[in-house]
Subunit: 329 residues, 2 copies
Amino acid sequence: MSEPHSATARAHPNIAFIKYWGNANDNLRLPANASLSMNLEGLYTQTTVSWFDRPDADSLILNGQPDTGAAFRRVFNFLNLLRERLNITGSARVESFNNFPMGAGIASSASSFAALTLAAVSAAGLQLSERALSALARLGSGSASRSIPAGFVEWFTGQTHEESFAESFAPPGHWDIVDVIAVVSSEHKSVISQEGHHSANTSDLQAARVAGAPERLAICKSAILSRDFEQFAEVVERDSNLMHAVMMTSRPPLFYWLPPTLMVMEQVRRWRADGLKVCYTLDAGPNIHCICAKDDADQVRQALSALSGISEVRVAGAGGAAVLVDVND
Amino acid sequence: MSEPHSATARAHPNIAFIKYWGNANDNLRLPANASLSMNLEGLYTQTTVSWFDRPDADSLILNGQPDTGAAFRRVFNFLNLLRERLNITGSARVESFNNFPMGAGIASSASSFAALTLAAVSAAGLQLSERALSALARLGSGSASRSIPAGFVEWFTGQTHEESFAESFAPPGHWDIVDVIAVVSSEHKSVISQEGHHSANTSDLQAARVAGAPERLAICKSAILSRDFEQFAEVVERDSNLMHAVMMTSRPPLFYWLPPTLMVMEQVRRWRADGLKVCYTLDAGPNIHCICAKDDADQVRQALSALSGISEVRVAGAGGAAVLVDVND
């Protein structure tokens, strides 16, 4: 193996405006539809990967604790794919932490697999294009493909591994919108979204959701490029509602909303009717991402903090690309 | 006009197990899909219609109060259709009351238009088949067609006015299930369901919901006929979730759920997992209809009463057909 042996990378989580839900190809994790997202500034996963020439000595330290359970298996299932695709030999020591809590708050799989991909590839002495890194990250977690490029990002469906990557269509500074995240519950969600993706096709509604996705994506991208908040808000909420409609009509049904979730969604619609530039979007969890104009963020944050059932409110603007922090030989 | 001039009829509301949502023909109110329901015993609308030979003297007394507003217009728009179809002349005096509160609790339009149809036809001295009465009631409110026959009822889509009627497929005594209704809010709902039906086709998901309805109806009917609660529960909850998925993805979206609605749905799924024979279904409102085995009704009622956010719990078994209470000349 060529030098250097060790690399450290950081990547942001991202919030999808047009959602990824369900795969066209489970093995390659090719998504049923293309998606759009924004990276979240200030929140990140930092991951160090060290490759060394000893067999069967893979190890994972996650947020300071050795892990040999489900997270270990998921990380090394992915690194096995990388070893195979990139001809990397030897064992890996992976050390990773998030600067935000695990679990139901903000999904950490996107930032985790994006940082892991960049660190693992760089530690192996390889330099890959952003497209190639994004496609590889996808194999770990679909949405991780979107945490490789900067700012406002589109992930293409593709027909092959190489074609299914994400790329930036606007830099972080393009539009002053922020994600004000209302955290409903810190409990770890009971169905992780990977299982959820497999259930998408059990809903009678998934095909219709997927069929309409290209049009919604075009509307959303155009709204972002022209900074048209009204058009953006309508399509972002509609796309989120469509994904949750599919989830709750799957067999068995997946209900991610909790009572405060419903209350905040209703409030957000009222605040917008009252003139605030704010809309909601929800991932596979109970927390509400209130996307709003930066000028309205303080007001939205204060209003959310005053609601019962909301344990915490975080604010994040548009973040940059996954970056290398350190490379050592 | 032939004698007698006055008649009084009673009809029960009904709860749909396979839902009616959206029309194939708005003018004739031919539904997009066939539906299944159970009449609700103990709850009724009682309506007296008197025809008399004076022009322009229509009047409505609703729950003891004269009404000249929206209810008056809806009642007499319907009676104008009856006058035309049945060659009735003269003015009508309509007096109607519900033995249950108006508004968000239990929909009163089904029982109201079923009782009104039977009273108006009988007061005009006409005797019509149950099918013809059911089809006429449909013109006032789609679900009213299902409140004409007894017990467990199927409403056929039909291609013409005459073909779109409801009929009983099992008498009230066929299966000991009851509707335990958890009332979340007594506020009048902001979107009446007639407007909602028009919005159904604005959802990308309505066509898929409608396409699957015949299969769900067949499963539900078979489960009722064979008294298979497990099969019944799965399809009833799924059908309700599908209707609300369409509602919340309409443009603009219709959200009928309130925070306690979501909590009760979750509780019902847990109670069933714990062995109770109970499932939920929701109409165009926040209240939860917990359909359960009669033997489990007390336990369900007590558990619902103990939940916060539930203002009232009602219990209703399977009810009979719309009936004439009185006919006078």
